[in-house]
Protein backbone atom coordinates (compact mmCIF):
# COMPACT_ATOMS: atom_id res chain seq x y z
CA UNK A 1 0.00 0.00 0.00
CA UNK A 2 1.30 3.36 -1.00
CA UNK A 3 0.02 5.48 1.88
CA UNK A 4 1.73 8.60 0.66
CA UNK A 5 -0.12 8.37 -2.62
CA UNK A 6 -3.42 7.66 -0.89
CA UNK A 7 -2.93 10.61 1.44
CA UNK A 8 -2.05 13.02 -1.33
CA UNK A 9 -4.98 11.74 -3.39
CA UNK A 10 -7.28 12.26 -0.47
CA UNK A 11 -6.06 15.83 0.02
CA UNK A 12 -6.57 16.63 -3.64
CA UNK A 13 -10.05 15.11 -3.67
CA UNK A 14 -11.08 16.82 -0.43
CA UNK A 15 -10.40 20.16 -2.06
CA UNK A 16 -13.20 19.35 -4.48
CA UNK A 17 -15.68 18.52 -1.72
CA UNK A 18 -16.95 22.12 -1.35
CA UNK A 19 -17.96 22.10 -5.01
CA UNK A 20 -19.73 18.74 -4.63
CA UNK A 21 -21.54 20.07 -1.57
CA UNK A 22 -22.51 23.26 -3.40
CA UNK A 23 -23.95 21.23 -6.29
CA UNK A 24 -25.80 19.04 -3.81
CA UNK A 25 -27.18 21.77 -1.55
CA UNK A 26 -28.28 24.05 -4.39
CA UNK A 27 -29.88 21.34 -6.50
CA UNK A 28 -31.68 19.75 -3.52
CA UNK A 29 -33.08 23.06 -2.30
CA UNK A 30 -34.08 24.34 -5.74
CA UNK A 31 -35.46 20.89 -6.56
CA UNK A 32 -37.46 20.85 -3.31
CA UNK A 33 -39.16 24.16 -4.10
CA UNK A 34 -39.78 23.10 -7.69
CA UNK A 35 -41.24 19.80 -6.43
CA UNK A 36 -43.70 21.71 -4.22
CA UNK A 37 -44.82 23.70 -7.26
CA UNK A 38 -45.19 20.56 -9.38
CA UNK A 39 -47.04 18.54 -6.77
CA UNK A 40 -49.37 21.50 -6.25
CA UNK A 41 -50.08 21.51 -9.99
CA UNK A 42 -50.45 17.74 -9.96
CA UNK A 43 -53.06 17.53 -7.18
CA UNK A 44 -54.49 21.06 -7.23
CA UNK A 45 -57.56 20.12 -9.23
CA UNK A 46 -56.85 22.13 -12.39
CA UNK A 47 -56.93 19.76 -15.33
CA UNK A 48 -54.42 21.54 -17.56
CA UNK A 49 -51.90 22.05 -14.75
CA UNK A 50 -52.29 18.47 -13.62
CA UNK A 51 -51.63 17.19 -17.15
CA UNK A 52 -48.56 19.38 -17.40
CA UNK A 53 -47.28 18.09 -14.05
CA UNK A 54 -47.87 14.49 -15.10
CA UNK A 55 -45.94 15.07 -18.31
CA UNK A 56 -43.13 16.80 -16.43
CA UNK A 57 -42.81 13.94 -13.97
CA UNK A 58 -42.88 11.37 -16.75
CA UNK A 59 -40.20 13.09 -18.80
CA UNK A 60 -37.78 13.73 -15.95
CA UNK A 61 -38.22 10.35 -14.32
CA UNK A 62 -38.29 8.47 -17.59
CA UNK A 63 -35.15 9.78 -19.28
CA UNK A 64 -31.52 9.50 -18.14
CA UNK A 65 -30.27 12.34 -15.99
CA UNK A 66 -27.03 12.33 -17.95
CA UNK A 67 -28.87 13.05 -21.18
CA UNK A 68 -30.89 15.78 -19.46
CA UNK A 69 -27.63 17.33 -18.33
CA UNK A 70 -26.09 17.13 -21.81
CA UNK A 71 -29.22 18.68 -23.29
CA UNK A 72 -29.02 21.61 -20.87
CA UNK A 73 -25.27 22.11 -21.21
CA UNK A 74 -24.66 21.40 -24.90
CA UNK A 75 -28.18 21.58 -26.27
CA UNK A 76 -29.26 25.02 -25.10
CA UNK A 77 -26.29 26.67 -26.78
CA UNK A 78 -27.70 25.72 -30.19
CA UNK A 79 -30.48 28.24 -29.85
CA UNK A 80 -29.61 31.75 -30.87
CA UNK A 81 -32.29 33.31 -28.74
CA UNK A 82 -30.77 31.71 -25.66
CA UNK A 83 -27.25 32.69 -26.61
CA UNK A 84 -28.35 36.27 -27.08
CA UNK A 85 -30.83 36.18 -24.20
CA UNK A 86 -30.35 37.82 -20.80
CA UNK A 87 -29.73 34.49 -19.04
CA UNK A 88 -26.82 33.41 -21.24
CA UNK A 89 -24.10 34.61 -18.81
CA UNK A 90 -25.57 32.10 -16.35
CA UNK A 91 -26.52 29.30 -18.73
CA UNK A 92 -23.05 29.16 -20.27
CA UNK A 93 -21.61 28.21 -16.87
CA UNK A 94 -21.19 24.43 -16.45
CA UNK A 95 -21.95 24.72 -12.73
CA UNK A 96 -25.29 26.44 -13.37
CA UNK A 97 -26.21 23.88 -16.02
CA UNK A 98 -25.39 21.03 -13.64
CA UNK A 99 -27.45 22.50 -10.81
CA UNK A 100 -30.30 23.23 -13.18
CA UNK A 101 -30.50 19.72 -14.59
CA UNK A 102 -30.05 18.07 -11.17
CA UNK A 103 -32.81 20.25 -9.71
CA UNK A 104 -35.19 19.68 -12.62
CA UNK A 105 -34.72 15.94 -12.31
CA UNK A 106 -35.05 15.62 -8.54
CA UNK A 107 -38.15 17.84 -8.69
CA UNK A 108 -39.86 15.17 -10.79
CA UNK A 109 -39.02 12.38 -8.37
CA UNK A 110 -39.71 14.43 -5.25
CA UNK A 111 -43.07 15.59 -6.56
CA UNK A 112 -44.17 11.96 -6.83
CA UNK A 113 -42.82 11.22 -3.36
CA UNK A 114 -44.70 14.20 -1.91
CA UNK A 115 -47.85 13.16 -3.76
CA UNK A 116 -47.63 9.81 -2.01
CA UNK A 117 -47.32 11.62 1.31
CA UNK A 118 -50.36 13.75 0.56
CA UNK A 119 -52.42 10.72 -0.39
CA UNK A 120 -51.64 9.10 2.94
CA UNK A 121 -53.06 12.00 4.97
CA UNK A 122 -56.27 10.85 6.62
CA UNK A 123 -59.31 12.49 5.01
CA UNK A 124 -60.79 12.70 8.49
CA UNK A 125 -58.08 15.04 9.70
CA UNK A 126 -58.62 17.21 6.64
CA UNK A 127 -62.34 17.20 7.27
CA UNK A 128 -61.79 18.33 10.86
CA UNK A 129 -59.69 21.20 9.52
CA UNK A 130 -62.39 22.24 7.08
CA UNK A 131 -65.04 21.97 9.78
CA UNK A 132 -63.15 24.44 11.95
CA UNK A 133 -63.03 26.97 9.14
CA UNK A 134 -59.76 26.25 7.39
CA UNK A 135 -59.35 26.18 3.64
CA UNK A 136 -56.77 26.82 0.95
CA UNK A 137 -53.23 27.69 1.96
CA UNK A 138 -53.96 27.78 5.71
CA UNK A 139 -55.19 24.20 5.63
CA UNK A 140 -52.20 23.09 3.60
CA UNK A 141 -49.71 24.88 5.81
CA UNK A 142 -51.12 23.85 9.17
CA UNK A 143 -52.51 20.37 8.58
CA UNK A 144 -51.87 18.81 5.17
CA UNK A 145 -48.20 19.62 4.62
CA UNK A 146 -46.86 18.67 8.08
CA UNK A 147 -48.59 15.29 8.03
CA UNK A 148 -47.77 14.59 4.39
CA UNK A 149 -44.11 15.58 4.78
CA UNK A 150 -43.73 13.25 7.75
CA UNK A 151 -45.14 10.38 5.68
CA UNK A 152 -42.92 11.23 2.72
CA UNK A 153 -39.72 11.63 4.70
CA UNK A 154 -38.29 8.05 4.47
CA UNK A 155 -38.71 7.97 0.68
CA UNK A 156 -37.48 11.54 0.37
CA UNK A 157 -34.29 10.84 2.29
CA UNK A 158 -33.48 8.13 -0.27
CA UNK A 159 -33.96 10.69 -3.00
CA UNK A 160 -31.63 13.12 -1.22
CA UNK A 161 -28.94 10.45 -0.95
CA UNK A 162 -29.34 9.67 -4.64
CA UNK A 163 -28.82 13.35 -5.36
CA UNK A 164 -25.49 13.35 -3.55
CA UNK A 165 -24.36 10.54 -5.84
CA UNK A 166 -25.86 12.15 -8.92
CA UNK A 167 -23.62 15.19 -8.51
CA UNK A 168 -20.87 12.91 -9.88
CA UNK A 169 -22.45 13.28 -13.32
CA UNK A 170 -21.57 16.97 -13.28
CA UNK A 171 -17.97 15.91 -14.00
CA UNK A 172 -19.15 15.05 -17.53
CA UNK A 173 -20.10 18.66 -18.19
CA UNK A 174 -16.71 19.89 -16.95
CA UNK A 175 -17.56 20.71 -13.36
CA UNK A 176 -14.53 19.78 -11.30
CA UNK A 177 -16.22 18.20 -8.34
CA UNK A 178 -14.93 15.10 -6.54
CA UNK A 179 -15.49 12.60 -9.35
CA UNK A 180 -14.16 14.98 -11.98
CA UNK A 181 -11.01 15.61 -10.01
CA UNK A 182 -10.64 11.88 -9.45
CA UNK A 183 -10.80 11.22 -13.15
CA UNK A 184 -8.23 13.87 -13.83
CA UNK A 185 -5.93 12.27 -11.24
CA UNK A 186 -6.38 8.89 -12.88
CA UNK A 187 -5.52 10.21 -16.29
CA UNK A 188 -2.31 11.55 -14.80
CA UNK A 189 -1.38 8.53 -12.66
CA UNK A 190 -3.27 5.54 -14.13
CA UNK A 191 -4.00 4.35 -10.57
CA UNK A 192 -7.71 3.82 -10.97
CA UNK A 193 -8.29 1.64 -7.95
CA UNK A 194 -6.75 3.88 -5.28
CA UNK A 195 -8.22 7.12 -6.61
CA UNK A 196 -11.75 5.87 -7.08
CA UNK A 197 -11.71 4.12 -3.70
CA UNK A 198 -10.81 7.42 -2.10
CA UNK A 199 -13.60 9.14 -4.02
CA UNK A 200 -16.11 6.47 -3.01
CA UNK A 201 -15.08 6.87 0.62
CA UNK A 202 -15.76 10.59 0.44
CA UNK A 203 -19.27 10.02 -0.94
CA UNK A 204 -19.91 7.42 1.77
CA UNK A 205 -18.92 9.84 4.52
CA UNK A 206 -20.98 12.67 3.04
CA UNK A 207 -24.03 10.45 2.70
CA UNK A 208 -23.53 9.09 6.20
CA UNK A 209 -23.79 12.65 7.50
CA UNK A 210 -26.82 13.39 5.32
CA UNK A 211 -28.58 10.23 6.47
CA UNK A 212 -27.88 11.04 10.12
CA UNK A 213 -29.43 14.45 9.56
CA UNK A 214 -32.50 12.93 7.92
CA UNK A 215 -32.86 10.40 10.73
CA UNK A 216 -32.71 13.21 13.28
CA UNK A 217 -35.37 15.14 11.38
CA UNK A 218 -37.52 12.02 11.19
CA UNK A 219 -37.13 11.49 14.91
CA UNK A 220 -38.12 15.01 15.80
CA UNK A 221 -41.19 14.77 13.55
CA UNK A 222 -42.30 11.45 15.05
CA UNK A 223 -42.89 12.51 18.63
CA UNK A 224 -46.57 11.77 18.16
CA UNK A 225 -45.75 8.13 17.44
CA UNK A 226 -43.38 7.50 20.31
CA UNK A 227 -44.15 6.68 23.92
CA UNK A 228 -46.60 8.88 25.77
CA UNK A 229 -45.13 11.61 27.97
CA UNK A 230 -44.60 10.49 31.55
CA UNK A 231 -47.70 10.96 33.64
CA UNK A 232 -47.39 13.79 36.14
CA UNK A 233 -47.19 12.52 39.68
CA UNK A 234 -50.51 12.93 41.44
Amino acid sequence: MDFDFLASTMVTLLKAVPLTLALFALSVSVGFLLALLIVWMRVGGNRALSTFARAYIFVFRGSPLLIQMFLVFYGLAQFDFIRSGPLWPFLREPFVCAVLSLALCTAGYSAEIFRGGIRSVSPRELEAARAIGMSGFLLVRRILAPIAFRHALPAYSTEVVLMMKSTALASLVTVWEVTGVAQRLISQTYRTMEVFLCAALIYLVLNFIVLQGMALLERSLSRHLRAAPPAPKA
Partner: protein
Amino acid sequence: MADSPRLAVRDIRKTFGSHEVLRGISLEARDGDVISILGASGSGKSTFLRCINLLEIPDAGEIRLDGEEIRMVRSGGRNRPAIQKQVDRLRSELGMVFQSFNLWSHMTVLQNVIEGPVHVLKRPRGECIEEAQALLKKVGIADKADAYPAFLSGGQQQRAAIARALAMKPKVMLFDEPTSALDPELVGEVLRVMRALAEEGVTMLVVTHEMGFARNVSNRVAFMRDGLIESIGSPQEMFGDGASPAFRQFIGHFQA
Protein backbone atom coordinates in the same frame (compact mmCIF):
# COMPACT_ATOMS: atom_id res chain seq x y z
CA MET B 1 -83.71 38.69 17.94
CA ALA B 2 -84.78 36.46 20.78
CA ASP B 3 -87.42 34.89 18.60
CA SER B 4 -85.35 34.33 15.50
CA PRO B 5 -83.72 30.92 15.37
CA ARG B 6 -79.98 30.50 15.75
CA LEU B 7 -79.90 27.94 13.01
CA ALA B 8 -82.56 27.45 10.39
CA VAL B 9 -82.38 24.94 7.58
CA ARG B 10 -85.10 24.65 5.00
CA ASP B 11 -85.87 21.96 2.49
CA ILE B 12 -82.40 20.40 2.33
CA ARG B 13 -82.06 17.84 -0.45
CA LYS B 14 -79.14 15.64 -1.28
CA THR B 15 -78.68 12.86 -3.79
CA PHE B 16 -75.74 10.49 -4.04
CA GLY B 17 -75.79 8.99 -7.51
CA SER B 18 -79.33 7.79 -8.00
CA HIS B 19 -80.01 7.50 -4.27
CA GLU B 20 -81.92 10.39 -2.77
CA VAL B 21 -80.54 10.55 0.77
CA LEU B 22 -82.27 13.73 1.92
CA ARG B 23 -85.69 14.50 0.48
CA GLY B 24 -86.40 17.93 1.91
CA ILE B 25 -85.44 18.45 5.53
CA SER B 26 -86.32 21.53 7.51
CA LEU B 27 -85.32 22.20 11.09
CA GLU B 28 -84.87 25.19 13.36
CA ALA B 29 -82.77 25.46 16.47
CA ARG B 30 -83.29 28.29 18.92
CA ASP B 31 -80.86 29.42 21.57
CA GLY B 32 -80.32 26.67 24.08
CA ASP B 33 -82.12 24.02 22.07
CA VAL B 34 -80.76 20.52 22.36
CA ILE B 35 -82.15 18.54 19.46
CA SER B 36 -81.51 14.82 19.24
CA ILE B 37 -81.74 13.36 15.76
CA LEU B 38 -82.58 9.68 15.78
CA GLY B 39 -83.06 7.20 12.99
CA ALA B 40 -81.89 3.88 11.59
CA SER B 41 -78.58 3.83 9.76
CA GLY B 42 -79.12 4.93 6.20
CA SER B 43 -81.92 7.27 7.14
CA GLY B 44 -79.72 10.24 6.23
CA LYS B 45 -79.17 11.74 9.67
CA SER B 46 -75.38 12.04 9.42
CA THR B 47 -75.60 13.38 5.90
CA PHE B 48 -78.08 15.97 7.13
CA LEU B 49 -75.72 17.10 9.88
CA ARG B 50 -72.82 17.24 7.42
CA CYS B 51 -74.90 19.35 5.05
CA ILE B 52 -75.37 21.98 7.74
CA ASN B 53 -71.68 22.92 7.75
CA LEU B 54 -71.28 22.02 4.09
CA LEU B 55 -69.00 19.04 4.51
CA GLU B 56 -71.57 17.70 2.06
CA ILE B 57 -72.96 20.22 -0.37
CA PRO B 58 -76.75 20.01 -0.44
CA ASP B 59 -78.31 19.91 -3.90
CA ALA B 60 -81.04 22.26 -2.79
CA GLY B 61 -82.27 24.08 0.27
CA GLU B 62 -81.37 26.95 2.48
CA ILE B 63 -79.10 27.20 5.53
CA ARG B 64 -79.16 30.24 7.80
CA LEU B 65 -77.01 30.85 10.83
CA ASP B 66 -78.20 33.81 12.90
CA GLY B 67 -80.24 34.89 9.91
CA GLU B 68 -77.29 34.88 7.51
CA GLU B 69 -77.86 32.65 4.53
CA ILE B 70 -75.05 30.60 3.02
CA ARG B 71 -74.97 31.67 -0.57
CA MET B 72 -74.85 28.99 -3.20
CA VAL B 73 -74.39 29.08 -6.96
CA ARG B 74 -75.05 26.45 -9.57
CA SER B 75 -72.16 25.52 -11.78
CA GLY B 76 -71.94 22.55 -14.08
CA GLY B 77 -75.36 21.36 -12.94
CA ARG B 78 -74.22 21.16 -9.31
CA ASN B 79 -74.59 23.38 -6.31
CA ARG B 80 -71.54 24.91 -4.78
CA PRO B 81 -70.90 27.62 -2.21
CA ALA B 82 -70.57 31.04 -3.79
CA ILE B 83 -67.95 32.40 -1.41
CA GLN B 84 -65.41 30.14 0.30
CA LYS B 85 -64.68 32.87 2.86
CA GLN B 86 -68.30 32.87 3.98
CA VAL B 87 -68.27 29.08 4.25
CA ASP B 88 -65.07 29.19 6.33
CA ARG B 89 -66.52 31.81 8.65
CA LEU B 90 -69.81 29.97 9.15
CA ARG B 91 -67.97 26.70 9.73
CA SER B 92 -65.87 28.44 12.38
CA GLU B 93 -69.14 29.35 14.11
CA LEU B 94 -70.43 25.78 14.02
CA GLY B 95 -68.61 23.33 16.26
CA MET B 96 -68.42 19.84 14.77
CA VAL B 97 -67.75 16.66 16.74
CA PHE B 98 -67.14 13.56 14.62
CA GLN B 99 -67.86 9.92 15.27
CA SER B 100 -64.18 9.00 15.00
CA PHE B 101 -62.86 12.12 16.76
CA ASN B 102 -60.66 13.24 13.84
CA LEU B 103 -58.04 14.86 16.04
CA TRP B 104 -54.90 16.03 14.26
CA SER B 105 -52.41 13.29 14.95
CA HIS B 106 -49.28 15.43 14.69
CA MET B 107 -50.38 17.84 17.40
CA THR B 108 -50.75 17.45 21.15
CA VAL B 109 -54.17 17.77 22.73
CA LEU B 110 -53.47 21.38 23.68
CA GLN B 111 -52.21 22.18 20.19
CA ASN B 112 -55.36 20.63 18.75
CA VAL B 113 -57.52 22.86 20.93
CA ILE B 114 -55.71 26.16 20.24
CA GLU B 115 -55.24 25.50 16.51
CA GLY B 116 -58.57 27.00 15.46
CA PRO B 117 -58.58 30.04 17.76
CA VAL B 118 -54.97 30.94 16.93
CA HIS B 119 -54.89 30.25 13.21
CA VAL B 120 -58.48 30.67 12.06
CA LEU B 121 -59.71 33.35 14.46
CA LYS B 122 -56.21 34.89 14.71
CA ARG B 123 -56.49 35.45 18.45
CA PRO B 124 -53.47 35.94 20.72
CA ARG B 125 -51.81 32.65 21.54
CA GLY B 126 -51.41 33.18 25.28
CA GLU B 127 -55.11 33.90 25.73
CA CYS B 128 -56.03 30.83 23.69
CA ILE B 129 -53.77 28.59 25.76
CA GLU B 130 -55.41 29.79 28.98
CA GLU B 131 -58.88 29.17 27.60
CA ALA B 132 -57.83 25.80 26.22
CA GLN B 133 -56.54 24.70 29.60
CA ALA B 134 -59.82 25.73 31.20
CA LEU B 135 -61.74 23.77 28.55
CA LEU B 136 -59.59 20.69 29.03
CA LYS B 137 -60.24 20.90 32.74
CA LYS B 138 -63.93 21.17 32.04
CA VAL B 139 -63.97 18.00 29.94
CA GLY B 140 -61.76 16.31 32.50
CA ILE B 141 -58.50 15.77 30.61
CA ALA B 142 -56.37 18.66 31.87
CA ASP B 143 -53.58 16.17 32.62
CA LYS B 144 -53.48 15.06 28.96
CA ALA B 145 -52.79 18.52 27.51
CA ASP B 146 -49.31 17.57 26.29
CA ALA B 147 -50.15 14.05 25.15
CA TYR B 148 -50.57 13.14 21.49
CA PRO B 149 -53.95 11.75 20.41
CA ALA B 150 -52.55 8.28 19.67
CA PHE B 151 -51.89 7.81 23.38
CA LEU B 152 -55.41 8.64 24.55
CA SER B 153 -58.38 6.35 24.99
CA GLY B 154 -61.35 6.85 22.69
CA GLY B 155 -63.31 8.62 25.40
CA GLN B 156 -60.43 10.98 26.10
CA GLN B 157 -59.96 11.66 22.40
CA GLN B 158 -63.61 12.49 21.99
CA ARG B 159 -63.56 14.82 24.97
CA ALA B 160 -60.48 16.51 23.48
CA ALA B 161 -62.39 16.87 20.23
CA ILE B 162 -65.29 18.46 22.08
CA ALA B 163 -62.87 20.90 23.73
CA ARG B 164 -61.40 21.67 20.31
CA ALA B 165 -64.85 22.51 18.95
CA LEU B 166 -65.79 24.57 22.03
CA ALA B 167 -62.59 26.61 21.78
CA MET B 168 -64.06 28.32 18.72
CA LYS B 169 -66.97 29.57 20.85
CA PRO B 170 -69.44 28.23 18.31
CA LYS B 171 -73.03 29.38 18.04
CA VAL B 172 -74.22 25.82 17.55
CA MET B 173 -72.53 22.50 18.29
CA LEU B 174 -73.06 19.63 15.87
CA PHE B 175 -72.46 16.10 17.17
CA ASP B 176 -72.26 13.30 14.61
CA GLU B 177 -72.75 10.05 16.55
CA PRO B 178 -70.18 11.12 19.15
CA THR B 179 -70.32 7.90 21.16
CA SER B 180 -70.82 5.32 18.40
CA ALA B 181 -67.12 4.52 18.02
CA LEU B 182 -66.53 4.14 21.76
CA ASP B 183 -66.28 1.07 23.92
CA PRO B 184 -69.40 0.83 26.11
CA GLU B 185 -67.54 1.71 29.29
CA LEU B 186 -66.26 4.97 27.73
CA VAL B 187 -69.64 6.22 26.50
CA GLY B 188 -70.62 7.60 29.90
CA GLU B 189 -67.73 10.03 30.24
CA VAL B 190 -68.54 11.64 26.90
CA LEU B 191 -72.27 11.79 27.56
CA ARG B 192 -71.61 13.46 30.92
CA VAL B 193 -69.66 16.23 29.18
CA MET B 194 -72.45 16.67 26.64
CA ARG B 195 -75.06 16.80 29.34
CA ALA B 196 -73.08 19.50 31.18
CA LEU B 197 -72.93 21.55 27.98
CA ALA B 198 -76.67 21.17 27.49
CA GLU B 199 -77.28 22.39 31.03
CA GLU B 200 -75.08 25.43 30.35
CA GLY B 201 -77.37 26.36 27.51
CA VAL B 202 -75.15 25.43 24.55
CA THR B 203 -77.26 25.00 21.42
CA MET B 204 -76.74 21.47 20.18
CA LEU B 205 -77.77 19.19 17.33
CA VAL B 206 -76.94 15.62 18.22
CA VAL B 207 -77.16 12.66 15.86
CA THR B 208 -77.14 9.72 18.23
CA HIS B 209 -78.28 6.24 19.12
CA GLU B 210 -78.27 7.05 22.84
CA MET B 211 -81.93 6.86 23.77
CA GLY B 212 -81.21 7.94 27.35
CA PHE B 213 -79.58 11.15 26.12
CA ALA B 214 -82.42 11.87 23.68
CA ARG B 215 -85.01 11.28 26.32
CA ASN B 216 -83.45 12.96 29.34
CA VAL B 217 -81.16 15.68 28.04
CA SER B 218 -82.59 17.00 24.79
CA ASN B 219 -85.62 19.24 24.66
CA ARG B 220 -86.60 18.09 21.19
CA VAL B 221 -86.32 14.78 19.43
CA ALA B 222 -86.42 14.40 15.66
CA PHE B 223 -86.91 11.00 14.05
CA MET B 224 -85.56 10.59 10.54
CA ARG B 225 -86.72 7.97 8.13
CA ASP B 226 -85.99 7.57 4.40
CA GLY B 227 -84.51 11.04 4.07
CA LEU B 228 -87.31 12.89 5.80
CA ILE B 229 -88.08 13.99 9.33
CA GLU B 230 -90.87 11.54 10.04
CA SER B 231 -91.82 13.09 13.36
CA ILE B 232 -90.48 15.67 15.78
CA GLY B 233 -91.50 16.76 19.24
CA SER B 234 -90.58 17.00 22.88
CA PRO B 235 -89.19 13.86 24.52
CA GLN B 236 -92.49 13.53 26.41
CA GLU B 237 -94.43 13.52 23.15
CA MET B 238 -91.98 11.30 21.30
CA PHE B 239 -91.48 8.72 24.02
CA GLY B 240 -95.10 8.91 25.23
CA ASP B 241 -98.29 7.40 23.93
CA GLY B 242 -98.71 9.83 21.06
CA ALA B 243 -95.59 8.70 19.21
CA SER B 244 -95.82 7.65 15.59
CA PRO B 245 -95.93 3.89 14.95
CA ALA B 246 -92.70 4.03 12.94
CA PHE B 247 -90.83 5.69 15.78
CA ARG B 248 -92.27 3.25 18.29
CA GLN B 249 -91.08 0.39 16.18
CA PHE B 250 -87.65 2.02 15.90
CA ILE B 251 -87.19 2.48 19.65
CA GLY B 252 -88.50 -1.01 20.14
CA HIS B 253 -85.18 -2.27 18.73
CA PHE B 254 -83.35 -0.62 21.62
CA GLN B 255 -85.45 -2.19 24.32
CA ALA B 256 -84.69 -5.76 23.39
